[in-house]
Symmetry: C2
């Protein structure tokens, strides 16, 4: 059985949970949590030298990490990865935008507020990130005013990549209702077959870090 390494709080991990649920692939999950420093522990670094979740171990013991790389891998053979090269490049364009602009503003704001000391302790940093997050959401809004989906005429893995941290924008201190086309697209995502909500666990079994790696 496939093993997914990562925690339920991480939007990056959730992207993989979503696509694996959509594909109907059974998996177990090993809880690896940033707030406990687990992704940088030697046991985990041996599996993914980049020190990040999500990572996946296949039944043959080989591994693959990075949410974007995993979305790409699990989308093969489906319309979530379109056939045309220019369309594929557009999908990647939005996925790089997510990792470079959207996630580092929205997800970091959420992290600072929830796990990093809260609003008062991070006022200056949050103000700087707020401007970047609002720009990222306005770029999505402009796209979704005219289109149902992020990168093409149909749903692709770019939609999966951008969903979790957009849905959790409230935890980042932003009201997604201010970007109504983004809010509408979140609803379309949630109406997809085998949709898995944020924080839900799609695993058939969950192991703690110590259970899997030992102490």
């Amino acid at each position: 059985m496939l093993t997914l390494f990562g925690n339920l709080d991480s939007g990056n991990v959730h992207k993989v949970q979503m696509i694996v649920a959509r594909r109907g692939i059974a998996f177990r999950r090993v809880d690896v949590n940033q707030t406990r420093g687990e992704p940088r522990m030697p046991q985990f670094l041996a599996l993914n030298a980049m020190g990040k979740v999500p990572a996946v171990m296949f039944e043959d013991g080989s591994t693959l990490s990075d949410s974007g790389a995993l979305l790409f891998y699990f989308a093969q053979g489906t319309a979530l990865w379109p056939e045309n090269t220019r369309q594929q490049a557009q999908v990647l364009r939005w996925m790089f935008f997510e990792q470079y602009n959207h996630e580092p503003s929205l997800a970091v704001m959420r992290y600072l507020r929830r796990f990093g000391g809260g609003e008062a302790a991070n006022a200056e940093r949050l103000a700087e990130l707020d401007a970047r997050a609002r720009f990222a959401l306005s770029v999505l809004e402009d796209r979704l005013k005219e289109h149902d989906w992020i990168a093409g005429e149909g749903i692709t893995i770019a939609d999966y990549a951008l969903y979790p941290y957009s849905r959790m924008a409230g935890e980042s201190g932003l009201d997604v209702a201010m970007w109504p086309s983004v809010a509408g697209w979140l609803g379309r995502m949630e109406a997809q077959p085998d949709f898995l909500p944020v924080y839900a666990d799609g695993a058939v079994e969950t192991l703690s870090f110590a259970d899997y790696f030992g102490n």
Copy 2:
């Protein structure tokens, strides 16, 4: 003829210059410079709503932006984008690592030192980024100790993605000689056919922002 939008100081723009040179594709370049705020000007946003360089306009007037998406596009049909899905996923894994970990530490350090007020004005931020940059370079070092190339047994677009800001590490305040396998790999890159050094312009013609967009 292909038109590339971007400046010579940008490592992200240079990635596209490198692959277009390797493919032997003639292009003209329109200088669009972050230090003058040009990527966020309305004329440019009409072409790339993400407000970033590089962007490309094809002869039919269609556009594509993002360094990673452009590397992917121009690598099609060459071994720089391998045929096997798992190998492709590994290439993307390293390209996402570059945009999420490597570039936001190395390139931002370089920007702050060169264009953002210098070392003294940014001491705290630079110290924080320094730790992240050293981790990113140590991840590359560990990979390149055992392999000639970043993502597979042969050169791929992951090598192109990671080259410019690794080569310019000195401008970020880091001595690449501390990561000897990275230094060796930079040399292998520079021995490639049709290699284009950082800051070199491969364009057959260069236009200023005002020349192209008007004032």
